[in-house]
């Protein structure tokens, strides 16, 4: 860090420029897994690549790691062009989705493997193994074989194996997907603390928006090999760059109502019975209620709105503090604060300037 500050230019931990990856499919069909990606991650930052399965996020990670060769574009690590360099020279460590521990080696030998590959002398190897094992709380497991470990333990071993090389960048490919729901929550927390502790730039791939929003300093949303938006979780959620991001992030997703050549978007939690929206600049609309779900204290109201645009099915999420009685079948006046409305081009889906909506 200090060295780079002295140099005057803070080199990015990782930078991808114009990355394109084309796979040759059967019968000369081409698949563009990456379609011109520009993204960079800062020193010590937690960058999350978020997208649906098949969006190219894992390909991007593998290209950064050096497991895949980009068809076009450049990868820089610590400001250095690494195209064509094998993973071992890139000083990246990657934890694969399957953890990919060596089944025939003990935990100790698994963690030792990268050190041996770098010809680290024995006494140093032992010290580093101990250090990594203690950091991850697995000193008791060193003598075991991977098959004797639980999913969570395997993940720790995989992390320890990645850690001993003291990499410049950590690449994590859906590290939580193999764990059950309960373990996932605690491990997520541990991963974040672990990264804070070692302070290494981390790029984390997931399709789970909760993980992405919870872990990321910044989130990069990908779809179909293209980068849709990069920003803080707050940016991504509040100021989505297009309708893909708007509907992919958020659960339930943002409601989109077509109004002429625009789409009017608002989050379910901002659509409330009109009497609960005090703003003068609110936009009201009648909601015909079809169904109400009661989920963890909130009421999710399903129905169709009219007046502000074409009749559209929407979802409203009412917190427990909203006590307005609602019953399926009735039509109730709902409203959204004016500053919560987002506008998109109906044809291309990209964000546009606000439009005045009366009433």
């Amino acid at each position: 860090m200090r060295r780079r500050d002295e140099a005057g230019t803070a080199a990015k931990a990782v930078e991808a420029r114009g990355l394109v990856k084309v796979y040759e499919g059967r019968r000369d069909r081409q698949v563009r897994a990456l379609d011109g990606i520009d993204v960079s991650s800062n020193q010590g930052e937690y960058l999350v690549l978020l997208g649906p399965s098949g969006c190219g996020k894992t390909t991007l990670l593998r290209t950064i790691a050096g497991l895949e060769r980009p068809t076009e574009g450049e990868v820089y690590i610590g400001g250095q062009l690494v195209n064509g360099l094998p993973p071992r020279i890139r000083r990246v460590a990657m934890v694969l989705q399957s953890y990919a521990l060596y089944p025939h080696k003990t935990v100790h030998s698994n963690i030792e493997f990268p050190l041996k590959a770098e010809n680290v002398p024995r006494h140093l190897r032992e010290r580093k193994i101990r250090w990594a094992a203690e950091l991850l709380g697995i000193p008791d497991l060193l003598g075991r074989k991977p098959r004797q470990l639980s999913g969570g333990e395997r993940q720790r071993v995989a992390l320890a194996r990645a850690l001993v090389r003291e990499p410049a960048v950590f690449l994590l490919d859906e590290p939580l997907s193999g764990l059950d729901a309960k373990l996932r929550a605690t491990t997520r927390d541990e991963l974040k603390r672990f990264q804070r502790q070692i302070g290494t730039a981390t790029i984390y791939v997931t399709h789970d928006q909760e993980e992405a929003m919870g872990l990321g300093d910044r989130v990069a949303v990908l779809d179909a090999g293209r980068l849709r938006q990069v920003g803080t979780p707050r940016d991504i959620y509040d100021e989505p760059a297009d309708t893909f991001v708007a509907t992919f992030v958020g659960s339930p997703p943002m409601n989109l109502v077509q109004r002429a050549d625009r789409l009017v978007g608002f989050r379910p939690e901002h659509l409330l019975p009109a009497e609960n929206v005090a703003y003068d600049s609110r936009v009201t609309m009648p909601l015909r209620i079809e169904r109400i779900e009661y989920l963890s204290g909130d009421r999710h109201v399903y129905g169709a709105v009219t007046r502000i645009g074409a009749e559209t099915r929407v979802i409203a999420r009412l917190p427990a503090t909203v006590i307005t009685p609602l019953t399926p079948g009735e039509t109730h006046e709902f409203a959204v604060p004016g500053d919560r409305l987002r506008f998109f081009d109906a044809e291309y889906g990209i964000r546009t300037a606000p439009v005045r909506i009366g009433g």
Partner: protein, 303 residues
């Protein structure tokens, strides 16, 4: 059965009875194995302790007489060494070449499917047939004539008539024939290795050799061992290659135990001695195979 009374006519059919089904499915195999494996084996053991000859096949117990005959035969000891050497060399070459071939066949290239099929041909061709082809190629008609035409070979007989080259030819044909089998077995083993492990090894900074010897070899050791056992079993039990290619010659220099057994027992008429010779290696092989398979099982338990 007693609790819920079945309705009339709802009787369990014969095919619902697992005991019956088990026997019905097993019976063909049992009959087949008894007729073609157990019976000949028992007969061989019996003959090894008999005075039976081709002229007087009636059974008369002879104790260890046949074994004494065999052990007194210089050719037997030479054949024994030949068999062990042939098997040992074949195992090493077949396993090494088979592993290499397996990796080649797994790589992505054009016409891979076609090449895979073609590569298997030596294994699918009947042994006697391919041995005849090789005899023709290596013998007077093929290689020999070419070498002479190019003035690279003078005088003497064809390669198959010379002691050293003949032995090399026997090994070569076995290796040529069994390498595809080993390749297919090792390929299956490679396919069962979770792919991420190789990625992990690359990420961990391991170079080509470390990836191969530190990851691939240990992970495919069980199947490789199986390929080795198969090679051993097929090589040292084989009569056809030696019979057809060299006939055991020149001067019994390429004789192996099975061909010797055939020579003494069938052609020489001393059935007892032939049986004794052919039985000699069995305990050794069984012990070897048992050890290897046990190691394999232990290695597999790690998965």
């Amino acid at each position: 059965m007693s609790g819920t009374r079945a309705r009339a006519g709802d009787r369990a059919r014969l095919t619902d009875r697992e005991g019956f089904l088990a026997w019905a499915f097993l019976l063909p195999t049992v009959v087949y194995l008894t007729a073609l494996v157990v019976a000949p084996f028992v007969l061989t053991v019996a003959f090894a302790f008999s005075r039976s000859t081709g002229d007087a096949p009636s059974y008369r117990f002879a104790g260890l007489r046949d074994f004494r005959t065999v052990f007194g035969d210089d050719v037997f000891w030479r054949s024994l060494l030949d068999t062990l050497a042939l098997t040992g060399v074949a195992i090493v070459l077949v396993v090494v070449l088979g592993t290499a071939l397996a990796h080649v066949l797994r790589a992505g290239f054009r016409f891979r499917r076609t090449v895979r099929t073609l590569v298997l041909l030596p294994w699918t061709t009947p042994v006697a047939l391919s041995a005849i082809s090789w005899r023709w190629l290596l013998g007077s008609a093929g290689v020999d004539r070419m070498l002479r035409a190019a003035s690279l070979l003078h005088g003497g007989g064809s390669p198959l008539d010379r002691t050293g080259p003949a032995a090399v030819a026997v090994v070569a044909v076995h290796v040529w024939r069994l390498t595809p089998l080993a390749a297919v077995i090792v390929m299956a083993g490679l396919n069962s290795v979770p792919h991420g492990v190789w990625d992990a090894a690359r990420l961990d900074g391991a170079g080509v050799w470390r990836r191969f010897f530190g990851v691939t070899v240990p992970l495919t050791l069980p199947v490789t061992a199986v390929a080795g056992v198969f090679t051993a079993a097929i090589t040292f039990a084989d009569v056809a290659v030696v019979r057809v290619l060299t006939g055991g010659g020149p001067h019994d220099s390429t004789q192996v135990l099975p061909t010797l057994a055939y020579l003494r027992g069938v052609e020489g008429g001393d059935i007892g001695a032939g049986a004794a010779a052919s039985l000699f290696l069995l305990p050794l092989f069984l012990a070897g195979a048992a050890v290897v398979l046990r190691v394999v099982r232990r290695a597999e338990a790690d998965r």
